[in-house]
């Protein structure tokens, strides 16, 4: 309720001195400092960020753009972003776009309106033209998703190599008929993971069979179910499946069970992302783990550095193959 004026009056000093105490400015005598601190306590004073932010022209808010919070893939990344943000005295504003351009616009405007100091985009469906425009004037970082040959700094993993490792793991187990459940190849990561899948097959001299590659619309459970249904209808049934997301893999698992087959005895299964539910399924799911927490921390650090005017380099983080029951015959 009280403002800095009232504190100054009560302490018998000027507002400048109160401000100096608040900001731990060295040039205040211990005696005066004490008087001010007492007045602050007495009045139950809390500095208003509204005044401070206007004067400093900053909001200390970071925007995080993502398609949907209910997608568990993002949870850990958000955690990482938040941890780093808080320890740097920033806060994050989570922006669910639902891949809806109107929503996106609302949030882009928040940056222009000074309600946020920078933006981390994790939305694969983001309007890249607008994001690039924004980048000309404001700090922007892409996390996980990025534009090939673009100018906006990003942090991500090597999707091609990760898919390669997933498929190589299956090959080493003796599988020759390995299917791929991929998402729409309009997404860069989907193209990259397909390339990795093909490289692994080629390296071991297996042909690439287009009927073994299925593209889904989205990354939902039901897409996985549908994809697996198609794959099970093939004359030559795959003995292993690599799905580019855990949610798809869990859908595939459901369909395999429904058709009376068993994982991993009849079909081995590998997912991607190591979402928390991937070890709650039966059997637990072999998957590729991205260092999600670290990716979040890194993205936040990059953005904050960028806000401070530093030059930012792209960063590629390491992935890991998590071997669990769905590939352990």
């Amino acid at each position: 309720m009280a403002n800095i004026q009232q504190v100054a009056q009560k302490a018998g000093v000027s507002v400048a001195t109160v401000s100096r105490v608040l900001n731990n400015n060295a040039t205040v005598s211990p005696h005066t400092r004490l008087k001010v601190e007492t007045a602050i306590k007495d009045l139950n004073y809390e500095p208003s960020m509204l005044g401070r932010n206007l004067r400093n022209s900053e909001s200390r808010l970071l925007l995080v753009l993502l398609p949907s919070i209910s997608n568990p893939f993002y949870s850990e990344i958000i955690n990482g972003i938040q941890t780093t943000a808080i320890s740097n005295n920033y806060n994050i504003l989570l922006c669910e776009t639902d891949s809806n351009p109107d929503r996106e616009n609302i949030y882009f405007n928040m940056i222009k309106n000074k309600l946020a100091d920078g933006i981390i985009s994790m939305d694969p469906a983001v309007n890249m033209q607008k994001l690039n425009e924004l980048y000309e004037q404001y700090p922007v970082i892409q996390c996980s998703e990025y534009e090939e040959g673009g100018v906006i700094p990003y942090v991500t993993i090597d999707n091609e190599q990760a898919a390669y490792h997933a498929v190589k793991h299956l090959v080493k187990l003796g599988h020759e008929n390995i299917a791929l459940i991929n998402s729409d190849e309009k997404f860069l990561y989907a193209r990259q993971r397909r390339t990795g899948y093909e490289r692994a097959l080629q390296e071991f001299g297996f042909p690439i069979d287009e009927t073994f590659i299925y593209h889904t619309q989205e990354l939902k459970f039901s897409d996985g179910v549908q994809a697996m249904r198609k794959l099970l209808q093939l004359d030559r049934r795959p003995s292993a499946v690599f799905a580019v997301s855990d949610t798809l893999a869990i859908g595939a698992l459901k369909e395999i069970n429904a058709s009376g087959l068993h994982v991993p005895e009849d079909i081995a299964l590998v997912g991607f992302d190591k979402i928390s539910f991937s070890n709650m399924t039966n059997p637990t799911l072999t998957t590729i783990s991205q260092p999600m927490h670290e990716m979040g921390c890194t993205a936040a650090r990059m953005l904050i550095n960028s806000i401070h005017g530093e030059k930012i380099e792209n960063i590629i983080l390491d992935h890991e193959v998590i071997i669990r029951e769905s590939t352990m015959g």
Copy 2:
């Protein structure tokens, strides 16, 4: 980049007039309005929320306190809150407390610092004393969780009745030995659900067997696994289990499968919350559905009304029993 002064100068009017145009104030002649609008376009002007917020002493930000975003239970509620918030020109700040008092304090201070206009708490472990203190000065709403006999307005469901319906569903299927996997009874909802469980049993003349009631520390998958393990070691094995959260139920399911038993043939299973994964399990999970989206919308509406100085009444929403494979013999 440009500010309201520059727009005023360019348009040849005063800043007051520009502000009137921005706020759609009626007392501006069409001719002047046009001049101003042209200047705004020419300069690419965007009003600064920092200035506006200071003047209006509001931040148009709502705080949402929750233990963890990765808990899918909260996803839909958050969605509801966000939808309502946005359509009222508010934004939400998601605050993960991890039930950590330090984190909580950071966020409580944001209210005092005017960085947020109000708070919705969904954290069962929230420090009620501090929340009550806050409520004396600032708008606060509790969502889903609340304090029995407390003064802070809340929106929730009838947990006792919901548990009663869950257990009654099992009784109707012919089960007599029904176990309860409950969470820590320091939580009000846990006590209420236990009461509902007992009322259903008593109504049908079944005794209440304490060995059939297991309390978990938290609501995690691993807690469900552990609980089920204990229940399976009993001399008289339950033929049905009601778990007070889907995550617990999914853990129980995993353990039942691991022990070679089948759901629902050997043991029927009911969860609570209808999280999205509850119909991705095998078998799909019978569960109690809370109207989560609606609960979120309601909480946000209550908070915004409260910010506008209105008097707020508590609201109890309806639940629903979702019957799926895990109870369909």
